[in-house]
């Protein structure tokens, strides 16, 4: 199991039954593979689909049915289409139970930076700022460190995506919960020690008693869950 699968399988446990969930481009889209059995989730894509499904069989792709990354997807029975104003009315209006987004940095106050690295090519924020401002729960799915440097930092050095405190940070080493009282270490990845986590974290991390090992959603090949069924 690689780091991405580990993160996706842990995040998948955050899916609630009968909710609307947005998965960001990249690592977060992997979460859709690990929906726990018995959990019915509608996946929303900000370009205007609720209930998108897996990529169709070869030759059956529809040019009008893509996800926010432009990749071909399918639609489950019960899917619907939305224009951009309505799509973001749902996002901004708190109708998403959760968004899962990649991250460049999260700081001690729980603020996320994930849209811009000054001095490099500027891509733009796309829908990220609306998603972080509007979703009821924001889960950041990212590597704990990049090129040996912590991505959880005392204060953002990159431009913030929103002023809001995210709900949970899931990395390949740990589950960290930002609280009004700072970051709290909630879980550790299998085989990882608290000391290893603290050494790879650039911000104060509270440890309260015994830190349990991460639970993970089952492997899909061993009987997957369902999306909107």
């Amino acid at each position: 199991m690689d780091a991405k699968e580990l993160i996706a399988r842990r995040v998948a446990l955050e899916l609630h039954d009968w909710t609307l969930v947005n998965l960001g481009i990249g690592l977060p889209t992997l979460v859709a593979r690990y929906v726990p059995p018995g959990i019915r989730v509608a996946f929303q894509s900000e370009n205007g689909i609720i209930g998108f499904g897996a990529r169709p069989p070869e030759g059956m792709e529809d040019p009008a049915l893509v996800d926010a990354g432009g990749g071909f997807v399918g639609a489950v029975p019960g899917a619907c289409s939305l224009d951009s104003a309505t799509s973001f009315a749902l996002i901004r209006g708190g109708h998403l139970d959760m968004t899962v987004l990649g991250g460049l940095q999260v700081d001690a106050r729980g603020r996320l930076a994930n849209w811009m690295v000054p001095g490099t090519m500027v891509a733009g924020m796309g829908g990220a700022m609306d998603l972080v401002a509007g979703a009821r729960r924001v889960v950041v799915a990212m590597q704990h460190a990049a090129r040996g440097r912590p991505k959880i930092v005392r204060e953002l050095t990159l431009p913030a995506t929103a002023a809001r405190r995210v709900t949970l940070v899931v990395t390949d080493l740990a589950v960290v919960e930002p609280t009004g009282d700072g970051l709290v270490l909630r879980e550790r990845a299998p085989g990882v020690t608290v000391e290893q986590i603290l050494a790879t974290t650039g911000a104060p991390l509270r440890v309260e008693g015994e830190v349990p090992e991460m639970r993970l959603a089952p492997d899909p090949s061993a009987g997957a869950g369902q999306a909107l069924r």
């Binding site: 689909i49 019960g78 209006g93």
Partner: protein, 217 residues
């Protein structure tokens, strides 16, 4: 699958004193069965946010007749003399809102916007006591968003995921109200299998609907 509830169960979910948005325009597109059940259970002290209060004996008019309503936020009560009389007698408090402003305030409440900047009502009694914001040499009223505890929605078709369609002029306030309440209860004319409503025909996603009232028997 999600399961449908009876209109009487829907009425039981709604406590006295609740703040309701109710779809419809002169009772066209109004969930009559949930209203009948509210009347039957003797609901009291409701706030009703709706375009109008219909006519006595129809739609929201039935709630007015039965004394269920303490407060009305509407664009028009002229078709219902009972609402007018109860307002003058102090039994019902009425806030009048221009129809487009009402629709937009509800949409703002559902879309997470802080308010509506509208030219409608500038220079009239509607502007009294409201913040006026000047932008590019024009004046706009800052109207606050509206939200409710419950939205009572009348739909044409619903599928098992609670996706909804509407027909002709029966859509009116229903689609925006389905965005703006903590609990959305939809009363459909028909319930059809998942997949029977094509994705582009869905007007309100089932992800917004909490309870579906079963088909009329």
């Amino acid at each position: 699958m999600r399961s449908a509830i009876k209109a009487t169960e829907a009425a039981r979910l709604i406590p006295d004193g609740a703040r309701l948005m109710i779809g419809g325009f002169l009772a066209v597109g109004t969930p009559e069965r949930v209203i009948d059940a509210l009347v039957a259970r003797g609901a009291r002290g409701l706030t009703v946010i709706a375009n109008d209060t219909a006519r006595p004996g129809t739609g929201i008019g039935k709630l007015i007749d039965a004394g269920c309503v303490a407060r009305v936020v509407a664009s028009h009560i002229g078709t219902n003399p009972a609402t007018q009389r109860k307002m003058l007698e102090g039994e019902i408090e009425v806030e009048l809102v221009p129809q487009g402003t009402l629709a937009e305030r509800i949409r703002a409440g559902g879309a997470g916007l802080g308010g509506v900047l509208t030219p409608t009502g500038v220079g009239t009694v509607v502007a009294e006591g409201k913040r006026v914001i000047e932008l590019n040499g024009r004046e706009y009223l800052l109207e606050p968003p509206l939200r409710a505890d419950f939205a009572l929605i009348r739909a044409h078709e619903a599928d098992y995921f609670f996706n909804l369609t509407y027909r002709l002029a029966a859509a009116n306030f229903n689609p925006v109200m389905a965005l703006a309440a903590e609990c959305v209860i939809a009363e459909p004319d028909e319930i059809v299998p998942l997949g029977a409503i094509p994705p582009d025909a869905v007007r309100t996603s089932g992800a917004l609907v909490h309870h579906l009232v079963e088909r009329r028997h």
